[in-house]
């Protein structure tokens, strides 16, 4: 993976769409994440879990993408949750005052149990 790339991998657990992110989410690729999440929501997904366990860092551009997707999910009566927001990535959420802006579960397992 190039040092500044973001990898977005989708998988399913029953009715839940899991979006696993890996790498860096910055000003150059946050738009790509927003487009992908919005396209999942507009295609009718009703439960989306975004896994941050492999994210190295994110910037405010990523927060914008996540806030837009959260609003879109609300409009579509879909559930949109995050998991494994840990370490330095969690600190960035905290600094942005955004820990309470999203539904965040500790691990993928916990999130799947809550969504299931």
């Amino acid at each position: 993976m190039a040092s500044n790339s973001l990898n977005i991998a989708e998988s399913r657990a029953g009715m839940i769409c899991i979006v696993a992110l890996a790498g860096r989410i910055d000003s150059t690729n946050a738009e790509q994440l927003m487009t992908r999440l919005n396209s999942l929501l507009s295609s009718g997904e009703k439960a989306i879990l975004v896994d941050f366990s492999e994210v190295i860092y994110l910037t405010s551009a990523a927060f914008r993408a996540l806030l837009v997707a959260t609003d879109e999910a609300e409009r579509n009566t879909a559930r949109f949750v995050l998991c494994s927001v840990l370490g330095q990535v969690r600190e960035l959420f905290e600094m942005g005052g955004l820990l309470d802006a999203f539904t965040i579960h500790g691990s993928r397992e916990e999130a799947l149990t809550r969504l299931g």
Binding site: S3, D26, T28, Y57, T59, A61, V68, Q88
Partner: protein, 154 residues
Amino acid sequence: MASFREQTMRIAIPNELAALPVATATLQRFGADNGVPDKALVQLQVALDEIVSNIIKYAWPEGGSHELTICLTAHRGAVEIEIVDDGQAFDPLSVPSPVHPPKGRRPRPGGVGIHITRNLIDGIEYVRTDGENHIILTKRYAGCVPPERGLDGQ
């Protein structure tokens, strides 16, 4: 007292977001070469992304091709990043902290990047001189020695 040679690297990038990875990748290499701890390096990369993307998006409302220069300097226990552009005057220190949303409401995007940068970085200075904006970010860290030079600076 062991000697320490300051290292400096200067790059220029066009005012295009697509050029930003060049800057963050250069910073990553520079930090690794100068023994900057991983956590401090990530914090610097986030801050650089926030400041440079802001400049690219807002410094030249009339558009056109412009260039930003980024100068990285490794001091003993600190890295300084100076970002220079010839866009309209803009002091990032003048940006107010984001307002907390009313209870039960989600925050809106906007102002978060500068706020995060202030939290990540130990010092931010802004100078407007000769029609140019100079933003200087300083990040201090403890206890690392550049791997290829050692304590005697050799």
